[in-house]
């Protein structure tokens, strides 16, 4: 068995729903069967081999080459295996993911790790808006797993997030941690405006203070040494990320909010 490689023949004009392409749905299928799987592309259906050149046969090691930002729903609901995306990925990467690993060597679109439950997503590039968020109208975003973004994220990172970890090596956009219910978002770079807007619970861990300051609906709780931070940094050690090599710190300035709501969230800034 060798890595199953799907190489995009030409960049599609319409969006492609790649959700049938996970090990859970391809397990046990021959290359011929995989070639015949139909994908929804815009308003029509196309066979996999009409879009992709196929080589290899192991769906547990799936690779998309020449990928473009039209490839949506990559790794949809996957429970195991590894997906590598060389190129950009579209919206809803790793939606409902329950295990396994997705590595993107490129940028991702909106709703990366949407309502993800478990597993690991690493984007070696930038991610769009709503990383780890809930679908529109839904209350629960990401409920577990780890997302690493080596670049920047768009707006509303962790919207409605409930559990799990989003680690951003670059900058986070506006409304980072908005409506967050729980979980942890750590940012090495800068954050945009309205940090933690309507945040209920959870932790926003920042390596540097936001240049625009903290919004008025977060209250300063003073500087503290928090015992859980060394444990958290120790858990980063096994990740392939800048966070693994981060100098651990446990001294932080703690801000509680959003006080317009229940105010149980916190922004922790390294001091």
């Amino acid at each position: 068995m060798s890595e199953l490689i799907l190489t995009l023949k030409t960049a599609p004009a319409q969006r492609v729903d790649c959700s049938p392409l996970t090990v859970d749905k391809l397990e046990g299928k021959s290359v011929k069967d995989i070639a015949a799987v139909s994908l929804v592309v815009g308003n029509q259906k196309l066979r996999v081999d009409e879009l992709f050149d196929i080589s290899g046969d192991d769906p547990a090691l799936l690779r998309f080459d020449n990928a473009t930002d039209k490839l949506d729903h990559i790794g949809h609901g996957m429970t195991t295996g590894t997906i590598t995306v060389n190129g950009n990925a579209g919206a809803y990467l790793g939606q409902f993911m329950m295990g396994g690993e997705i590595i993107v060597n490129g940028n991702t679109g909106i709703y990366t790790a949407c309502e993800m439950k478990k597993g690991l997503i690493k984007v070696n590039g930038n991610a769009g808006d709503f990383v780890g968020a809930a679908r529109i109208g839904y209350k629960n975003g990401m409920t577990g797993g780890t997302v690493i973004i080596t670049g920047d994220t768009g707006a509303r990172t962790g919207d409605h997030m409930r559990r799990g970890m989003i680690l951003i090596e670059g900058n986070a956009g506006d409304y980072c941690g908005a409506r967050m219910v729980s979980g942890t978002i750590a940012v090495l770079g800068q954050v945009g405006a309205h940090l933690g807007y309507a945040m209920k619970r959870g932790t926003l861990l920042l390596q540097q203070a936001p240049t625009q300051g903290i919004s008025a609906n977060f209250n300063d709780c003073g500087s503290h040494t928090l015992a859980f931070l060394p444990l958290m940094f120790a858990s980063f050690k096994k990740l392939d990320s800048k966070f693994a090599n981060l100098e651990p710190f446990s001294r932080v300035q703690r801000y509680a909010g959003d006080l317009s709501g229940i105010g149980m969230g916190e922004i922790l800034i390294k001091i």
Binding site: G144, R163, G164, S182, T184, R201, T203, H224, T225, L226, A227, F228, P230, L231, M232, A234, S235, M264, E266
Partner: protein, 301 residues
């Protein structure tokens, strides 16, 4: 069987199934971790009246603890899972939560066959709504705001089917000699993992038998081994034996207890007959009560 002039009796120690767990208490320094651990394992010599048997297993270097601070590993055993959970919870609440700079972690991973028992799971309510849960590496921790900062406690700890009541008796020509042999034995036994000797200093001088002449009591002094009663009762003691002391061992597995008994008996025997150590025996109830039998001569073979 005779080792260095010390007779090893052809008898066995009878032990019982218990439920046990290990917790790790850390603090700013070892002194404060120890203060908390001593309180946590206090009044826990025997299940007869303490509800559990607990003791400090060993101290831990900063690199051995989850949060990188100095710590102490404690083992705690009770007759059942429910009893153990209650003891761990009340003790953690009164002796660890209260102790300055402390943090509390599980020292035993979850076992497939046994349920986990709560550690910080219910202590969190002390936080009165300000407690914060953090999932780190698949384990849940509770951050409970307290007056010195934050008390960090792991949610659960693993439980194991364990063995309690392994024991041996040291029979000597005098009280100081019996105690010296016990001290030597305890020193060696404390070097071993997964076992505790729950009595004060690891030694018990009031071994008991089952039953009593008084209806209200179900255990009473082991008169057969009481040296002052040599002429009054059906004694086990020869004329030259003037003092008997017992070492009780609880361990996570049968094998751990065997190893500890061997190390302890060996150390006592090294003092030998010239230091007044005459016999090594063990306590049992005829083999009818406990499923674990530790035959002294087999262990020392």
């Amino acid at each position: 069987m005779i080792i260095n002039g010390v007779t090893i009796d052809d008898t066995f120690a009878e032990a019982f199934p218990m439920r046990g767990t290990r917790v790790i208490i850390t603090a700013q320094n070892l002194e404060w971790a120890m203060n908390s651990a001593q309180a946590f394992t206090g009044f826990a010599t025997s299940v007869i009246a303490c509800g559990c048997e607990a003791a400090i297993e060993r101290t831990l270097e900063p690199h051995e603890t989850p949060d990188g601070r100095p710590g102490v590993a404690c083992l705690i055993f009770a007759m059942g899972g429910k009893g153990l959970a209650k003891q761990v919870e009340t003790r953690a609440g009164q002796c660890v939560l209260t102790s300055p700079t402390s943090a509390l972690f599980s020292g035993l991973a979850m076992d497939q066959e046994e349920k986990e028992i709560p550690l910080g799971k219910n202590l969190r309510f002390f936080g009165d709504g300000y407690q914060i849960s953090k999932m780190i590496d698949g384990k849940r921790y509770w951050r409970i705001p307290v007056m010195d900062g934050e008390f960090l406690a792991e949610e659960n700890t693993g439980m194991r089917a364990s063995v309690g009541g392994g024991n041996f008796l040291i029979l000597a020509e005098s009280q100081p000699q019996a105690l010296a042999a016990c001290e030597a034995a305890i020193r060696e036994m404390r070097k071993l993992p997964n076992v505790i000797m729950p009595f004060p200093g690891g030694v018990v001088r009031s071994g008991s038998k089952v039953g009593s002449k008084y209806k209200a009591l179900n255990a009473s002094t082991n008169d057969a081994f009481c040296p002052t009663l040599k002429g009054q009762t059906k004694t086990e003691l020869s004329p030259e034996v003037e003092s008997v002391m017992e070492i009780v061992i609880d361990g996570l597995t049968e094998d751990d207890i065997k190893k500890a008994m061997r190390a302890g008996i060996q150390a006592a025997c090294e003092l030998g007959a010239e230091n007044g150590i005459r016999r090594i025996s063990a306590g049992n109830y005829g083999g009818k009560l406990g499923p674990f039998h530790f035959h002294l001569q087999e262990i020392m073979a």
